[in-house]
Symmetry: C2
Subunit: 422 residues, 2 copies
């Protein structure tokens, strides 16, 4: 039988909503892709009673992954409470204490503070439940593996980068590999669309027979992209094929990917394939488009730079938008967007440029140019195309959707027929 | 007695980790600030058995808030399963059906698709548990309030903007107001530091008596900021005062705020107060600094624009970094950072500018200039200051921390003594 799993993320700042958790999603993704979809991913505060109760509930599953509560401070209680929930004592691991001590000495030096200030924290972080095994350090906190009678608990630190590093070590442990061996990895398929309502996709799925043969279909929309996930157990392959074919046929132009690459990666690859260098000119998105493009490692061989032309003077002086265009049509207009894209190509010496200008809100809207009105323009050596959008949502949503739309406009312009995209 | 609460976030894409949930944190924050800290915030998939079981567990609390699962597609099952968990039937609300239909007609038009494609979805979204009350539409999904024997359930849509809008409507309902009236809003205090290790703050808290008198102290670090949250129940006021005073005295220079304003807001306010106009010049952060500055409504009266100078040619041609500076010191150097800041002030006609140049990785590092090496420089009409950083973490972490550090450098330069900051 497929092992069951629960993911427990600790931290008062998370349960009070002061911070958005990335670790639950990461662990969930790691487990799901290996065939163990967690039954729940819970965020629990640092209060001992509640955390201990949650740990007891979690230990009823075959696999428990926890995140957080390993720090040097008094409110980091995961180890102590896991030991209690599992009926184990606590011991200081002397080797671990030395290992953490060495890291902390460096830290103390960097911050120019006496080591004594850190000593109690080091001892605390070197304390394990009896029978627990260190998975090595990331930062100053060790990951811990504890095999109880019926459950395997893997205790990971809270900072996402550190959690991910220790997780990779945990993946090499035979205890965890045995559990994954008992799971049957499902096959996943993904189809991603841009510029369609969810309903249009859902209708096609239903007409093609929906979730027959145990197929699981998830449809979700995010920043104007609609993603269809098919989880395909044995026996559901032909139903998955039927639905995929129906979707491809119904929405050939909206389908832009059958994998998880972000649109910025697709755009960079398309430009790289054609030897084109790329620039941006952004007003209301304030740098979100260039930040997304440069989030991709290796983007520097394609992306040369961008201008955030927030003030109209920058549009005039730095981007060379003609004064009469700004005066006649205004900063938020198709004409200004076109001049911004052309200006970015010229000023930043690029082959391709995309521009964004719009009203992100909450202020600044008028009847003629309401909040959510956004103009995009993309220009390549052989094509030029503008788009007018009326985006719903608050300032943050308008900005995110405008940035996503700008990247998709680049994608469309750079990949002439859809057969080049997917 | 203080009511208990649970928050249930649904969505297979969330439990599989395909998406990071913002709604749990939002709701948790809303409840906590009114004195009802949720006992758990759980993400559950769309599988009916698991979701129904979680809803039953949640209904054991006084207050249940759910998010998601209200869409028009077959995998949106919150209403159906809540009805089952609460022992209620389902009915189509004809008024609601009309209301949703009107919205969807507009949508169909915009996407140029026949209304019939949407009709089944409209009926589904207009279906409520018996006794359920619509909280009004956001998008095409209604929020729903359902009073069961012992619990108040509030069902909110998944898209964060829509959830937040419907939540504001829910806050006006007497059923919810009664629950909040039974809770005692705790007093919160917050102290935020930059450039200190967590341990240095924790040591001061311990020495000042720690969590005496029922005070709850949470310390957490994020992108080089350390935040101390004090939750102060009646009777713990003087202990909270003792800890706050000790922290202020121990780390006067690192303390930068005693409220929740983001550093970009503090920076914009400081510049606004002095009538200064601001610009950015970014290399490795690729627009993250300008994106953070422009995320603040009204930033356009201070922030004029920015240059993302990713390629060295842009640093030379558009920013005017002297060729010999780039040749002698390299793009990642204190000298180039200084020339970028000066160039941004000149080219973008700003009073204040900040620059960032560094090695974000994963490639591009050398022994002399490793991944994580970042130079910042800020310049105002009367001051100029550079910083060298060696940031830990992956590409994303280096970029985020470099952007945060750049904003803090601006803050320090714009607020001469800390008494002007807090």
């Amino acid at each position: 039988m497929t092992p069951t799993a629960a993911v427990l993320v600790t931290g008062s700042e998370l349960v009070r909503g002061g911070r958005v958790d990335e670790n639950g999603p990461f662990v969930a993704r790691e487990l799901s892709s290996r065939g163990i979809e967690p039954e729940w991913v819970s965020v629990i505060g640092d209060r001992p009673e509640q955390l201990e109760a949650a740990l007891r509930r979690a230990l009823e599953h075959d696999l428990v992954i926890t995140s957080g509560g390993l720090g040097p401070t008094h409110d980091d209680r995961t180890i102590e409470l896991l030991a209690r929930a599992a009926g184990r004592g606590l011991i200081v691991d002397p080797e671990l204490e030395q290992e953490i001590g060495a890291v902390v000495r460096g830290l103390a030096e960097r911050f120019r503070r006496p080591y004594s200030e850190f000593e109690a924290g080091v001892r605390k972080q070197a304390t394990l439940p009896e029978g627990g095994v260190s998975l090595g350090l990331a930062g100053t906190a060790p990951g811990v593996l504890l095999q109880t009678g019926s459950a395997l608990a893997i205790v990971l630190p809270g900072p996402p980068g550190e959690l991910q590093r220790i997780w990779r070590t945990a993946l090499e442990r035979p205890e965890l590999q045995e559990l994954f061996a008992r799971a049957r990895s499902p096959v996943f398929r993904i189809l991603r669309f841009f510029g369609l309502p969810e309903s249009a996709v859902a209708g096609v799925v239903e007409q093609a027979g929906g979730e027959a043969d145990g197929l699981e279909v998830t449809i979700c929309a995010h920043d104007l992209e609609v993603e269809v996930d098919l989880m395909i157990p044995a026996g559901a392959e032909s139903q998955a094929e039927r639905i995929s074919a129906a979707l491809r046929e119904a929405h050939p132009r909206a389908l832009f990917a059958e994998d998880e690459r972000a649109v910025e990666e697709i755009v960079l690859e398309a430009a790289r394939g054609r030897g084109l260098r790329m620039a941006t000119a952004e007003s209301c998105t304030g740098g979100l488009v260039s930040a997304r493009l440069t989030s991709v490692p290796g983007s520097s061989d394609v992306f040369v730079g961008g201008l955030v032309a927030y003030d109209d003077r920058i549009k005039l002086d730095a981007l060379g938008v003609p004064e009469e265009v700004l005066e006649r049509h205004g900063a938020v207009s198709a004409e200004t967007a076109a001049a911004m894209a052309a200006g970015a190509r010229r000023v930043l010496d690029a082959d391709v440029a995309v521009s964004v200008t719009g009203v992100a809100g909450p202020g600044g809207g008028t009847e003629a140019k309401p909040v959510g009105l956004v103009y995009l323009h993309a220009e390549t050596p052989d094509a030029s195309h503008g788009v007018e959008l009326r985006l719903p949502g608050d300032r943050d949503a308008v900005r995110r959707r405008a940035a996503a739309s700008a990247l998709h406009l680049l994608r469309r312009l750079l990949t002439q027929s859809r057969h080049e995209v997917v």
